[in-house]
Assembly symmetry: C2
Homo-oligomer: 230 residues x 2
């Protein structure tokens, strides 16, 4: 990253999170469009791996890479549910020195794991590769995979079909975020939600009844009137 | 099912779908509560495997069983993404006659696949079992698994913790379904949505702009005024 940010041909920018857990928002989506418009031909989107950010990003990009550092224990356990299934390439990082045997083991574990996953594409089988940024190995191979992926997906028409599908998904996702945001930020809903959740969890009322009450409050019904009486 | 529905101790009922794809709705959730209240000690919820119904049900029940019939080809390919990961028990069905070798193969494939999945519980490792309703084999073993699962989850406190979490999830889900339903059924939004989606997919406007416009229409802004001018 320090090298990349000194390169005059690269534009590196943190994306504001606007309070979203994981930091992937509408602005991330539109920043990609802007960068494309500005003529950048390779756009890398990096997530911090919190919340649902990876899944949000998987619906924004042409190719999704999952980076796995080799560590002790059963690595697959620590991986977010379903994230391997949306990966086009799994990259085992830090593949050098003492970590080389672990990295190799993890690579073969992922190759086995991917055998049991339903592939996202008809022309591409997810690959597992290894890189070392210290020894500068594996990066050209990863780039070749990227090019091959792009070529196959482009020729089959999948790349453009996926982009169209992603755009529609994002329309739905923006609408949902906005409307649900209004609900959560409604002052009376915000004040009531924790106690309603507690009552639901304690079995005092059903989730359905609690939802009805909160919705009435949100839509300016009973809740507000009660407030007036107080 | 024909046998079960003749048993005086069983109550069998189809659940109305209210138009939800997959047919799992708030009423399913509340039907479970009602059956519990009526004193039924075993409640089976069966989905038709369409839409997101299995995932919705996985958040309603204590134990989630995935039923797989043995068939030709690579069975794992046909399974919905992520569904194996939410399964507590995978049941290979029709395990008799000619299908026996296929059923055995599928069982071992799932045992391998589950090795690479992150378990949902700290006390339970997902199991793969075989049944035949023709030869009436495997059902007592499945019932034993169910009892063992319940015992382990109950003793560890996981069962009750999961139930509390599920109730909170259902509150959120009811609210979301209601609010998003209102958006989708709004007459002007309903009329505009297909053409907006098309414009977004054709790259004529960004998903964000289309969302802003639809939200203005929904919240009684620009869209309605335009309608008045026409």
């Amino acid at each position: 990253m320090p090298n990349l940010s000194c390169d005059m041909r690269a534009y590196v920018r943190a994306s504001p999170s606007c309070g979203t857990l994981g930091g992937v928002t509408r602005s991330t989506n539109e920043a990609i469009v802007l960068c494309e418009g500005a003529g950048y031909d390779v756009i890398l989107v990096e997530t911090i791996g919190v919340g649902q950010s990876e899944f949000a990003v998987a619906d924004m990009v042409d190719m999704f890479c999952l980076l796995i550092p080799p560590a002790g224990g059963d690595e697959l356990q620590g991986i977010k549910k379903g994230i391997v299934e949306v990966s086009d390439v799994v990259v085992v990082t830090k593949c050098d020195g003492d970590l080389l045997p672990a990295a190799r083991r993890i690579q073969s574990e992922y190759i086995s794991a991917l055998k049991f996953m339903r592939p996202r594409s008809r022309v591409w089988k997810p690959q597992v590769t290894r890189v070392s940024s210290l020894e500068k190995t594996g990066v050209p191979e990863l780039w070749d995979l990227t090019q091959e992926f792009r070529q196959l997906r482009l020729e089959s028409g999948e790349l453009l079909a996926t982009r169209r599908k992603q755009l529609r998904l994002w329309l739905a996702s923006h609408v949902k975020d906005h409307i649900m945001g209004r609900f959560q930020k409604h002052p009376r809903v915000y004040a009531l939600l924790p106690s309603m959740e507690q009552m639901v969890m304690d079995g005092l009322i059903t989730p359905g009844l609690a939802a009805d009450y909160l919705l009435e409050v949100f839509e300016g019904g009973r809740g507000d009137k009660r407030n007036d009486q107080v």
